[in-house]
């Protein structure tokens, strides 16, 4: 089994599915000859040709809107938006069309496409290259939103997303792109959209997170005293959310900290703590804590680690929640 980084896992999975299904086309800025600015699509144009790996004009609305048309026209488009900060021009197409086409046409027209978008901070990138907008899209009915944090999950979720009959936003945490390798089987496998993963089992407290902060949380777990037993959940899918896994865990532990990079207000942490009080009210030993980005603009990179939920802050949140 090959040992792959997240970038390599996504790359090989795209190739796998393009080989299997000739309706799959990639389109976006610099995805062709250059292989994408993160090299996620490296070598794919050489292998599958310019009709299937398409360097588009610099126009996110054009990319998204024409991907919708490609999907309606019988293709399985995988548009890439170069960075999450440039979703703005595509928002109209995504939310007002991709998300609603099935409903508007009572199922006659559907939009099976997977939108790939690098996301999140921590890589010293320029302005607008470090945001975490997952809640905005989770809040847009009609879209599914996933964010793998490991190469193995990246493959399974990507295949599930491409084969899904509805539009899926596939966020790729750039901080994890090359941070480690793991075994990714060559065979075809999918990971069900809507299923979280218990990364480590525990009984004292539940930590819910997704994307790059999974690793900051693991760091916090390492720093906690031996006798603290933490259940760490990697959500993997932001919407539809796996409340069963979260509720089962919190009913056991009675305590929960939600960790995400996005701002606090109206972030996914708000939704998750609300779901927890709906499902676990009588089991709770402490208020659900949120350890998130602040309600500010994501700062330029000199201050990004002060903004992001890094290990010490997560550790503190866990300790506070335990001490409550």
């Amino acid at each position: 089994m090959p040992q792959l980084t997240l970038v390599q896992a996504i790359n090989s999975t795209l190739a796998h599915e393009m080989q299997r299904d000739d309706r799959v086309v990639l389109l976006g800025e610099d995805v062709g000859l250059n292989g994408g600015v993160f090299r996620v699509t490296e070598g794919l144009q050489a292998r599958f040709g310019k009709d299937r790996v398409v360097d588009t004009p610099l126009d996110e609305s054009g990319i998204m809107g024409s991907a919708i048309g490609l999907a309606i026209g019988g293709m399985r488009p995988i548009p890439e938006i170069q960075f999450e900060g440039f979703l703005g021009p595509a928002y109209d197409q995504l939310v007002n069309h991709a998300a609603r086409m099935r409903t508007r046409t009572r199922g006659a027209i559907t939009v099976p496409m997977t939108v790939r978008i690098p996301v999140g901070g921590g890589i010293h990138a320029p302005e607008l290259h470090s945001d975490s907008p997952e809640a905005i899209y989770a809040h847009s009915p009609g879209l599914k939103v996933v964010m793998p944090s490991t190469p193995y999950d990246a493959k399974g979720l990507l295949l599930a997303a491409i084969r899904d009959p509805d539009p899926v936003i596939y966020f790729e945490p750039k901080r994890v792109y090359r941070s480690f390798r793991e075994e990714v089987p060559d065979e075809d496998y999918t990971i069900e959209i809507g299923k979280a993963k218990v990364v480590s089992e525990g009984t004292d407290i539940t930590v819910v997170t997704w994307g790059a902060p999974v690793f900051q949380c693991l760091g916090a777990l390492d720093n906690l005293p031996e006798d603290v037993s933490v259940e760490l959940i990697d959500l993997r899918t932001i919407y539809p959310i796996d409340i069963e896994t979260i509720a089962q865990s919190v009913q056991k532990t009675g305590r929960c900290v939600v960790v995400h990079e996005a701002p606090k207000t109206a972030g996914m942490g708000a939704e998750i703590s609300s779901l927890i009080q709906e499902h676990c009210f009588l089991h709770l030993e402490a208020p659900v804590q949120r350890c998130t980005g602040f309600d500010t603009i994501m700062p330029y990179y000199k201050l990004e680690l002060d903004y992001l939920p890094e290990t010490p802050r997560i550790q503190k949140a866990i300790e506070e929640c335990l001490a409550y």
């Binding site: 800025e29 610099d30 062709g32 000859l33 250059n34 292989g35 600015v37 360097d55 004009p57 610099l58 126009d59 996110e60 609305s61 054009g62 900060g85 440039f86 703005g88 021009p89 010293h124 990138a125 320029p126 302005e127 607008l128 290259h129 900290v257 606090k264 207000t265 208020p287 804590q289 949120r290 350890c291 998130t292 602040f294 309600d295 500010t296 603009i297 700062p299 330029y300 990179y301 000199k302 201050l303 990004e304 002060d306 903004y307 802050r313 997560i314 503190k316 949140a317 866990i318 300790e319 506070e320 929640c321 409550y324």
Partner: protein, 374 residues
């Protein structure tokens, strides 16, 4: 009924100083004086050195991504000179450093910006410019709006916005062009067509033979110029500004130039373009041809060149030192400019940012004093 032609147009190309440093004296009349040529050459040279030092800072890990201006400097300096400092607005992208410097922006601010320090976006009192614009194509609409405001307020002001060939693919570009003509706003659309948008060449970016012709759709006066020729960049901008000041509305300039470096320090252009193409453009370098011209006119000497190189190096080294010596921003920095007045919850987040209870003050009722559950 026979069909008839209802619209016809053509695009002119303007070059005044050619690659060999030969000047078309007729076209050059009433453009820039010898003194100004020397001044622009100096500004371009300093900007080139500035790129060098920024590149070094990036390579030595002291700066994040940086987009070099190398090869395109004639645009920023020509336009910068044609516009009136403190009166006209600059609404830039990120390859117009020299124009920003000429209009009063402290040079180290640009370094700070790319060093991940938002204080690099400060605009000093009296400088009329917006900060570097990261989302491609978005700033042109602001330029249109600023120009529209000047018109509404009957101010004698022109706005120039700068953007790349790639930017003309964005919807905002077309919105800005349409608004500008409909409102007859005094704005200059200055496209630095450097042939590439990261790895995407102009031929893939658009089907149009020229960028300049895009303005025809909006009935906007438009011209294509040699963007490596300081006479042409100055003249085109000056003429457009004059038209705008006289109530003639917006103008479009397509400056044909070339990005001699990588897109940014995060890019490797060898992956997608031939060295032969780069080499062909090296000989069209605006610095080389301006120098040839100055030498031909006896305005320049090897001694002056050496002196300038030394001076430019000293200037940018000093600028880099200034940027590096500035103390890092404190975390409060990203709260303090969020609103005119910080909302209470945000103020609490600022206070408690080192603790987990985001936005909850330690003595908040219900947090620690909640009655025990039975």
């Amino acid at each position: 009924m026979p069909k008839k032609v209802v619209y016809e147009a053509s695009i002119e190309h303007l070059q005044i100083l050619d690659e060999d440093g030969k000047l078309d004296a007729k076209l050059a009349k009433d453009t820039i004086t010898d003194e100004q040529v020397v001044y622009l050459y100096e500004q371009m040279s300093i900007c080139r050195q500035f790129d060098e030092i920024a590149f070094k800072l990036q390579r030595s890990g002291r700066m994040g991504t940086y987009p070099q201006n190398k090869g395109q400097e004639a645009n920023a300096v020509g336009a910068g000179l044609a516009l009136q400092k403190g009166k006209d607005w600059l609404v830039p992208c990120y390859r117009e450093n020299a124009a920003l410097f000429m209009h009063g922006l402290p040079m180290h601010y640009i370094l700070l910006h790319w060093m991940g320090d938002e204080r690099g976006n400060q605009i000093p009192e009296g400088c009329l410019m917006t900060p570097i614009s990261i989302p491609i194509g978005t700033q042109m609409l602001h330029a249109t709006g600023i120009a529209w405001a000047a018109k509404l307020r009957a101010e004698d002001r022109v706005v120039a916005t700068f953007f790349g060939d790639g930017a003309t693919s964005e919807g905002d570009f077309h919105g800005a062009m349409n608004f500008a003509t409909v409102m007859q706003a005094p704005v200059i659309f200055y496209c630095q067509n450097n042939q590439w948008a990261i790895s995407v060449p102009r031929e893939i970016q658009m089907n149009s033979a020229t960028v300049a012709q895009k303005a025809l759709a909006y009935d906007m006066p438009t011209i294509q110029i040699d963007g490596n020729d300081i006479f042409a960049t100055f003249k085109a901008t000056r003429d457009a500004a004059k038209r705008a000041r006289e109530g003639g509305g917006p103008s479009f300039i397509e400056a044909v130039t070339y990005r001699l470096g990588d897109h940014t320090t995060a890019d490797d252009a060898r992956r997608y373009r031939d060295q032969a193409e780069v080499d062909a453009w090296l000989s069209k370098d605006p610095l080389i041809r301006t120098r040839k011209y100055m030498e031909g006119k006896g305005l320049w000497s090897d001694k002056r060149q050496t002196d300038l190189e030394e001076r430019a190096k000293r200037i940018v080294e000093e600028v880099a030192r200034t940027a590096l010596e500035i103390e890092d921003p404190t975390p409060a920095d990203f709260f303090d400019h969020m609103y005119a007045e910080l909302p209470a919850d945000l103020a609490r987040q600022r206070e408690t940012m080192r603790t987990s209870s985001l936005g909850l003050s330690p003595d908040q009722p219900g947090l620690k004093t909640q009655p025990q559950r039975a």
